[in-house]
């Protein structure tokens, strides 16, 4: 059942993407429902771009376009179902944090949001240590010049910075709070004189909008994607992620991100400050609810033991691992690393424990005539690689670049020509990464010796090869 579904997932995903990429163009132009009569649409305001979904990715997309020089005379709308939140930086850390890659930081600074984030709260980290619970194998990542590898930022902080930058271009970007889109009407690819060529959007309160390009940034249960009848390959992992804000036993130079692969799932400790870290523990549903309900002391003990205990080691694996390591050190003396231990946890913030289910998804197509998907609407990954929101920011950088070029050439923004270029570029990047993450997740979900040995040696070998590590870190 679930196991079989998982086994075919990566292969199916790759195959479907391949098929989708080869699918005749005609299939994309095939619109679903009816295009409305001209008379009905005359009154609805026409926007150049409407972004549906005001989360981190949707807001950043609207802000990126709003700050683009070639969009200075365009009308952009952002639809967000929730209310507008005024943000005041609280003392305690939020339990929902993201790891922001340097590439994403560059995007955010391109429209001035990164400065706000830095002035609020953000923690750079310089090293990443990833190791196995079933063996001694470890892999560490760090930049040669000791530059920041990434930043741990609370999601609320990112949202606050984005809202500020949206306010700065309020003359071009109109944000509709409390507005949920309930229906979309797609235009026919070659319209006749009585049907509108634009996408029609109906909001819950009955208001209507028209747009030349609809960008769906409405999360992994995207309504835009469903209404556009874009096929989505997805399945739910049998794991949930437990998040919490933790306080360390002693203040330390907390600039390392730690992740250990347990048989039940990876546990990660992400630095927030010298005395606090954020926990992301992906584990089975039963274990997750147990963790949520246990008392604070037991919870802290579970975390410490998860990082420190060697109960999953077997002599066979240890010996094989040690042998491989000495072989490697003959070939590449600098290639073996000493395993460091993460800081120990003293207590957990009250009220900060939460759990959310994990799943994986990938849309067969990212674009249609006058529609584009970005962020989780297009792809959803396991948090084990800390890539989720970075993939979304990467989508934004790519799409904004293509739309800006199209605007500079006076082109119709909803034209498939440049949307397809965006899709090809991003699918090439995303598909391999998503497949790799899925593969890693499954590889590390077992304690069967052959697979443990494989991943042990694989990890040790990868750790000894800087070129491969650079490629991985570049993602």
């Amino acid at each position: 059942p679930a196991g079989d579904a998982r086994d075919v997932t990566s292969a199916a995903m790759a195959a479907a993407c391949g098929r989708a990429l080869l699918a005749p163009l005609g299939a994309r132009m095939r619109a679903c429902p009816r295009a409305p009569l001209r008379s009905l649409t005359a009154a609805a305001p026409l926007y150049d771009v409407v972004v549906s979904g005001g989360g981190m990715v949707g807001s950043a997309m609207a802000a990126a376009l709003g700050h683009d020089i070639h969009f200075h005379d365009k009308k952009i709308a952002l639809l967000e179902a929730g209310p507008r939140k005024e943000y005041r930086l609280p003392e305690s850390y939020s339990n929902r944090v993201s790891s922001i890659s340097p590439g994403s930081a560059t995007l955010l600074s391109s429209f001035g949001a990164w400065d706000h984030i830095c002035s609020l709260r953000c923690k750079p980290f310089r090293r990443m240590q990833v190791w196995d619970a079933c063996s001694e194998a470890i892999i560490t990542f760090e930049k040669d010049d000791l530059d920041d590898m990434g930043y741990i930022v609370e999601n609320d902080v990112v949202m606050s910075a984005l809202t500020k930058q949206l306010d700065a271009v309020a003359d071009r970007v109109e944000v509709f709070y409390g507005s949920r889109a309930v229906g979309y009407t797609w235009p026919l690819p070659s319209h006749s004189c009585d049907t509108s060529p634009w996408v029609q959007i109906e909001l819950a309160d009955g208001r209507r909008l028209q747009t030349k390009l609809l960008i769906g940034a409405d999360g992994h249960n995207s309504v835009v994607r469903k209404e556009a009848e874009i096929q989505n390959i997805e399945h739910q992992y049998d794991q949930s992620a437990v998040v919490a804000t933790l306080h360390l036993s002693e203040a330390t130079d907390n600039n390392v991100a730690w992740q250990r692969f347990l048989p039940t799932g990876p546990i990660a400790l992400l630095p927030l400050s010298d005395t606090a870290s954020s926990l992301v523990w992906s584990t089975s549903h039963q274990h997750a609810s147990k963790l949520l309900s246990m008392d604070k002391e037991s919870f802290v003990d579970s975390i410490n033991s998860a990082f420190w205990s060697n109960v999953n080691h077997s002599d066979f694996i240890d010996a094989a691992g040690a042998m491989f390591r000495s072989a490697l050190s003959l070939l590449k003396p600098s290639g073996t690393a000493v395993r460091q231990l993460p800081p120990s946890v003293a207590e957990v913030d009250p009220e900060s424990r939460a759990v959310f289910p994990l799943g994986m998804g990938h849309a067969a197509q990212y674009v249609r005539h006058r529609v584009a998907l970005i962020g989780d609407a297009a792809h959803r990954v396991h948090p084990l690689a800390g890539q989720g929101v970075n993939l979304g920011f990467g989508d934004i950088a790519c799409l904004a670049h293509h739309l800006s070029a199209a605007a500079f050439n006076g082109q119709d923004l909803g034209s498939l020509k440049h949307l397809l270029r965006f899709e090809t570029e991003r699918q090439r990047h995303n598909v391999s990464l998503i497949a790799a993450i899925d593969l890693l997740k499954r590889l590390y979900s077992t304690s069967l010796s052959p697979l443990v040995l494989l991943r042990t040696w694989g990890l040790q070998a990868t750790n000894a090869l800087p070129p491969i590590k650079e490629i991985i870190a570049a993602f």
């Binding site: 163009l25 200075h72 070029a405």
Partner: protein, 350 residues
């Protein structure tokens, strides 16, 4: 249109300016290329000038574009069929849609010093900071067809007047722009020939765009003179057309007609293609100075255009009307005889 036949056809469409059938069929002119269906019978593209197809070789000099009486109703019907294809990006005119990727930057760059319209459509090397590069510029799009080039120019801020002799094209263009309030205001279409607007538009335009047009014009010099009249001093003329070379013969005629068998033999009149040297000479003699000439190449596999060194096949040209210096070396309007000639011949352009 997808598929091998489609791409070859697109390639041919891109190359062929207009087709003048030899052997008794009337001269057909169109700015996107006459499209010949698989049976080999001639389908006129919408912007063809009306001609008498009943055997007599009609010289274009006699015709005014708006004269309907010499138009064969059968051919008009074919225009109408094709008129709907203008805005189908994967349809008959996909090559023209792709051509926007290079001709719009070419025109836009005419207004910026040090701007390079680049080797890729994504080149953003321009130092131009304002968002509407063509704001305040008045452009005349001669032979606008369905408005494929007028709309991008309008989006970049220009006030565009698009003229085309065929009413059906104007109707399609008007209808397409009507849904976008910004474009509806910035672009005006008129079913007209160039000479018909000369009197009312003396020195009115900053820019004239004649894209895939001059290879159809019967009297090129007259056409250029008329352009000169409606351009402001110092105004720009942008032309894209096809060279008259062995290579354009091989690719446009041999490959398309004889090898691929899409175009019936003799349908192209390679004689009407215009070499850049001839065009430059005519322009320089009539009050223009040529600033840029650059070769263009269509890749039928990727369905995209690119700039190339060689002008052997397609090319683009930018000329500027000499400022302060009157056209045809006199400031009075053209003499009556010249005006009449201008009307008679320029009318068949596009």
């Amino acid at each position: 249109m997808v598929g091998g036949g489609g791409t070859i056809r697109a390639f041919v469409r891109a190359l062929s300016g207009r087709r003048a059938a030899a052997g008794g069929r009337g001269e057909l002119s169109c700015c996107t290329g006459a499209l010949l269906n698989r049976n080999g019978s001639v389908r006129l593209s919408p912007s063809s000038a009306p001609t008498d197809l009943n055997g007599s070789m009609v010289t274009t000099r006699r015709l005014l574009s708006t004269s309907q009486s010499s138009v064969d109703p059968k051919e008009l019907r074919k225009f109408q069929l094709l008129a709907h294809s203008w805005w189908d990006e994967q349809g008959e005119y996909s090559a023209l849609h792709s051509m926007n990727d290079i001709r719009v930057p070419f025109i836009r760059c005419g207004f910026e010093d040090g701007c390079f319209y680049g080797d890729t459509v994504l080149n953003m090397g321009s130092t131009y900071q304002r968002g509407s590069p063509l704001s305040g510029i008045k452009i005349l799009d001669v032979g606008c067809g369905g408005g494929l080039l007028s709309e991008p120019l309008g989006r970049l801020g220009a006030s565009v007047t698009g003229i085309d002799p065929l009413e059906e094209n104007i109707r399609v263009a008007d209808q397409h722009k009507s849904f976008d309030p910004v474009l509806a205001k910035r672009i005006q279409y008129k079913s007209s020939s160039l000479e018909e607007i000369v009197e009312e538009s003396v020195e009115m335009f900053d820019v004239i765009v004649a894209s895939e047009v001059v290879e159809h014009v019967a009297d090129l010099e007259m056409f250029i003179k008329c352009c000169c009249q409606v351009l402001k001093p110092g105004g720009s003329l942008f032309v894209t057309t096809i060279n008259k070379t062995q290579l354009s013969y091989i690719l446009g005629i041999v490959v398309a007609e004889k090898i691929a068998g899409i175009v019936p033999e003799g349908a192209h009149d390679w004689e009407k293609f215009v070499p850049p040297e001839e065009l430059e000479h005519l322009l320089e003699a009539n009050g223009f100075s040529v600033k840029t000439v650059n070769g263009m190449l269509y890749n039928p596999l990727t369905e995209s255009w690119s700039w190339i060194e060689s002008t052997s096949i397609n090319y683009a040209l930018h000329a500027v009307k000499s400022g302060g210096q009157a056209q045809t070396s006199q400031t009075e309007p053209l003499s009556e005889m010249e005006s009449e000639q201008c009307s008679a011949t320029a009318g068949t352009s596009v």
